[in-house]
Symmetry: C2
Subunit: 252 residues, 2 copies
DNA sequence: GCTCCCGCCTTCCGTTACGGGAGGGTCAAG
DNA sequence: CTTGACCCTCCCGTAACGGAAGGCGGGAGC
């Protein structure tokens, strides 16, 4: 089971140049050479290359990878366990970033302004006291901002007005259902939750049931989104959120 | 709302040098300068920096990011939508990698050998016909490999034998339950599934219910894992898998 | 046996995205 | 009016390769 550079490169999805480089720096030296000086890789080399590729994907510099792999106290299974942990951690971080993006999209849709630190905190290591005084003026400048956001959204004026009308119509009908005393998991409320989801999808971004329930949680967790609904009618934020959840469950 | 380089750097979690660099290449030039030549960033610059950070996290080179951001046909919401898509795609890829790692861990635990392409295909773009002849000799060399894998696992000989004994004992008791005619979702079968999970956790790696059901699916989907169980008793793979699923659901 | 082409070799220079100073001005606080 | 924390502009260094040049090796076909 001996392979040439080209074979290894194609199989592992790297370039020959990369393998040369790894050989140069001693990260992955082929187990032997042919009489003509050709590099010959064996299965153990492939094992090592697999580990290298995973650590690289996780952002480790090559010299650290070399240190990790050549650490005699770590057996192969330890590497797999470690990579499993690192990968799941990384997925968690990306999911936080997705949540942050969803929040940003919804904030934009509702003309709610986010603070600088909210937009960057998902990247970690930020300085919380840099913008302390900025927090107070979060609640202002509504009309000018609304108008500017209309333009940047890329819609024509009529489009924007139609969207606004649809949204307000939805709000009215939702308040009616609420006022009727129907529970949040009633068919009427759920139907309006579904309509809300499709309204978002039609006008702004693809809102899956999963994304939708994420928004619902945000409506009750974040004061600004809560305030948006509460000013329409007290208790609306929680009611909307529950209806969205009920709708999502029923469609699953 | 004007910020200095240092403030922006701390808030966004980048270095001052990075901002200098972005200014140099024209990716992010501050909207103004003070009389003394100090860079002055405003909120729009922070918006742009946020987008830059996300695209960077997704692996885009800086010149491409500049091209994307300066594309006049794309409004801010389009960027958010795009980043949402890219992020979820990336999460999906990482989840595949996690599954591959779990497969590798379980293969190691069961002394099953994987082919080179299986270990690399998660990275994409590999050449499937490179190792065609290698597939035939997948089923061999059991004892020597077993012995070597014992050593590399970092256990003492006694540990290894105890683990082996536990595993075989579990297998025997599982076959008993199967033979008794009890369904796979019976309490007895589920209890043994749980024991299986804890056995893995105790000896090899942290096996959550989620990971465990993943393994269960693999036992029936992959011929080598299926064969491992079928050689103990026909129908065992599916039965084990069902018991694991039932156990996981009941614990949720 | 010869040719041809593909794959391999080494060497070397280029690139990206910054890191990290050196040398020197700036600004608010004490 | 000094001091320390910031800011500026060069400028050189580094990591992880990319890519091409210039030259062997090897097996398939004539």
């Amino acid at each position: 089971m001996a392979y040439t550079v080209g074979q290894v490169a194609r199989a592992a999805g790297v370039t020959v140049r990369t393998l040369h480089h790894y050989d140069e720096i001693g990260l992955l030296s082929p187990s032997g050479r042919s009489s003509a000086g050709y590099r010959r890789y064996d299965d153990a080399d492939l094992d090592r290359l697999q580990l290298i590729r995973y650590y690289r994907e996780l952002g480790f510099p090559l010299d650290e990878i070399a240190a990790i792999l050549d650490d005699p106290t770590a057996d192969p299974s330890a590497h797999l366990r470690r990579q499993h942990e690192l990968l799941t951690g990384r997925i968690g971080k990306l999911q936080e970033m997705v949540a942050a993006i969803e929040m940003a999209m919804e904030a934009r849709r509702m003309n709610i302004k986010l603070t600088p630190q909210e937009r960057f905190e998902v990247f970690g290591d930020f300085d919380p006291d840099t913008y302390e005084d900025e927090a107070r003026e979060r609640w202002g400048e509504s009309d000018a901002y609304r108008e500017s956001s209309r333009r940047t959204a890329g819609y024509s004026k009529e489009d924007w007005l139609r969207n606004k009308a649809e949204n307000e119509d939805w709000g009215r009908r939702f308040v009616e259902v609420m006022a009727s005393g129907a529970p949040a998991d009633s068919p009427a409320a759920m139907a309006l939750a579904e309509e809300h989801r499709q309204l978002i999808t039609r006008w702004f971004y693809d809102c899956s049931y999963e994304v939708h329930t994420g928004l619902a949680d945000m409506y009750v967790a974040d004061e600004r989104f809560t305030a948006y609904f509460e000013q329409i009618r007290p208790g609306m934020a929680a009611y909307v959120a529950e209806a969205i959840h009920a709708n999502a469950i029923s469609r699953a």
